[in-house]
Symmetry: C2
Subunit: 412 residues, 2 copies
């Protein structure tokens, strides 16, 4: 039990709260900041001045709104001056972006990759090349204040090859191989193109799982904004998820909490890569859908889209595959709703389209699961940040350090 904060801690907290408001809103008037932060006008003015002096925000007089009285100054993030690099290693593609404060995508690159095992170099080289290309296109005075990569713990297969995109892992899983290789490649890439961070070195690359980051993005500026309890389900090869309760992401004791793709739903089901049997992933993952539909089991998001399209055009095998997955999708969602009583269940990645194709079916399964009071107020929704959710989540993670303590960032 800690005592209350000191004056200096409060000032820092307030600076962070103000910058976060501006980052999330894109632009916000001083009057709105006064109301939302519960601080008086002079304090807001002083905090804004500090952030402006540090080059993090600008203030401007809004265009005439046809109302009497002096308009409240509008505070904007310096989106073109302060940026992060975000990377995402997904099951079947690699993406990178330069994202400005405020969540603005300034530059974006993507390449597909064959699902399956790969060496760290095969995965990291294209991302490092993206970083080089983006660094060359970056204005001279813009400041890099952080970088992050979305990558799931990878399974170490035979010959030291790694399989990204797998969730749940096996005995030898780690997020480290890609993150550390990328850290090195990034340093080399940026050194060759001249440090875009200006003075100091940017803070080290940070990493977290794809589902957690997509959920973070949806919570910050997507479908789950302001929701304190959310279950986010993410299809990307396998099935992963992220749970927000009480406004915070559930991490468990060592960061592996929320592996909801590996709850066992079918005790008589198929063996799973994680060593268990009948995991939810074995029933609703891309492989389950694609195999049941008689398609190549690793055709990724393109394959999933093709099955859904075929089903909607009368392909009975695709319809049956989708129906089977829809049943288990509804079954698992019902269990999670019983356990978590969330405000919202959000479907992202390839589960977004699977859910859209089986909405009524999932609804029926939920109804059959008893106790309607558990579902009062529950919303089932699809992720609104679409294909870029994971990448935007990585950007949010990269901004986190600056937002939690704006004036002590080394690159500022």
């Amino acid at each position: 039990m800690r005592a209350g904060p000191s004056q200096e801690e409060i000032r820092r907290h307030n600076l962070g709260a103000l910058l976060r408001s501006v980052h999330v809103s894109g632009a916000v008037s001083r009057a709105e900041l006064t109301a939302s932060l519960g601080l008086n006008r002079s304090t807001i003015g002083a905090l804004t001045a500090e952030l402006a002096a540090a080059g993090l925000v600008t203030e401007e007089t809004p265009r005439d709104r046809g109302r009497a009285g002096r308009p409240s100054l509008v505070v904007r993030p310096e989106s073109y001056q302060v940026y992060v690099l975000a990377f995402a290693i997904e099951a079947d593609r690699l993406t990178a972006a330069r994202v400005g404060l405020g969540g603005l995508i300034l530059d974006r690159r993507e390449t597909s990759r064959p699902p399956g095992e790969a060496s760290p170099a095969e995965v990291v080289a294209p991302l490092a090349e993206f970083a080089r290309q983006m660094a060359r296109a970056t204005p001279r005075h813009a400041r890099l204040i952080g970088s992050a990569v979305a990558t799931n713990p990878v399974v170490r297969g035979r010959n030291g090859l790694l399989r990204p995109g797998a969730s749940g892992g096996g005995a030898d899983t780690s997020r480290a191989p890609f993150a550390s290789a990328l850290t090195q490649a990034l340093a080399d890439a940026l050194a060759r193109t001249g440090s875009p961070g200006g003075a100091g070195r940017p803070p080290a690359l940070v990493s977290r799982g794809c589902a957690d980051l997509a959920a973070l993005a949806e919570y910050t500026r997507g479908a789950a904004t302001g929701r304190a309890s959310v279950i986010y389900l993410h299809g990307d090869g396998g099935v992963d998820g992220s749970v927000i309760t009480g406004g915070r992401q559930l991490t468990g004791q060592d960061g592996t909490g929320g592996q909801i793709g590996h709850m066992v739903v079918n005790p008589a089901g198929q063996p799973c890569g994680c060593g268990s049997r009948g995991c939810w992933e074995t029933e609703i993952g891309e492989y389950a859908l694609l195999s049941a539909a008689g398609r190549p089991a690793n055709s990724g998001r393109t394959g999933v889209a093709a099955v859904i399209n075929a089903a909607s055009h009368g392909d009975t095998r695709a319809q049956a595959a989708l129906h089977q997955v829809g049943e288990w999708l509804g079954f698992g969602v019902a269990n999670l709703v019983t356990i978590f009583n969330p405000e919202m269940v959000l479907f992202g990645g390839t589960l977004r389209d699977v859910y859209l194709a089986s909405t009524a079916q999932v609804g029926r399964r939920l109804t059959r699961a008893g106790s309607p009071e558990r579902r009062s107020g529950l919303r089932l929704r699809t992720a609104t940040l679409g294909e870029d959710g994971v990448l935007l989540g990585a950007a949010e993670l990269a901004f986190e350090r600056l937002l939690s303590d704006p004036l002590t960032d080394p690159a500022i």
Copy 2:
């Protein structure tokens, strides 16, 4: 996003933090408070003086410890002067206690009740009588600062009768009937014996579910003390639970989160009272164990103890019943560990003894559930507050208002 707290808010926070330390520890030196709260000695001295002036703590010089130098004063809660009334409505018994600040049970009453439906009056009358008896035995100057009742949402059956102890509920469930009847009965009982609260009226009776309160007690002063992520499982007729993540109880959007007894583990299983089928409760609840062992299905905690005893003395039918329940217990625990990645799983109520009788079996099921990294550091333990866990949790709930803001309590 709120701004930081004011000076007055910080002072109140610090008073609460200090009183909470003393309440949890029973007695703690000023030196320890200085260290644990991160405040300087003079601030601790001033805060302690305020709490002492309000009659909430006392200070005393410790007995000579054979060390040089002036010993640090010891701060103690006024356990005999400041108390709450705690009540628990469990499936097969009713309990009440007068509990002093610091968690000291000063007086305790219990009566058994036949499991099954009852009218509010049948349940509330014995508790009100306990309150009267305890009020008569309470010293004149002691102050009642709160009261709470542990009661699950009840199912409204035929003829307006209610079934306490059921978890998961049906369409028409509420915690209100018992709590409101008890509020009225309590006011009458205390008025007749003279207000033990001295000056002001004590704050209104508050209520929460039995599993949540037993978990709160274990987290405050039992097996889960200081653990940030805990799954607490509670057997009491049915099966209920409470999940602590990030140091906070998972409540869900409307307080019905953590109904882990109603996650479906066996899609081909029995219908459950909640309207679903194959819920965990139908596989590991008391009814499942007692029926499989060929005993009266509503013999409650006595019946469960008898089955376990018979099994340990070679009764093969009891052994088979216990084995079957142990399998499903391990299966469900493995799923929850996958979902939550907790530091600890804690077995309480009648599941305490069931777990002790099937520890090795539950361990084997966990091992078969794959991914050992999810279980690294995981501890399986039994509740240490034993039979009084629920009652002590109700007391903690009743103290909460005082602890969060010590000097504005109306009865102080």
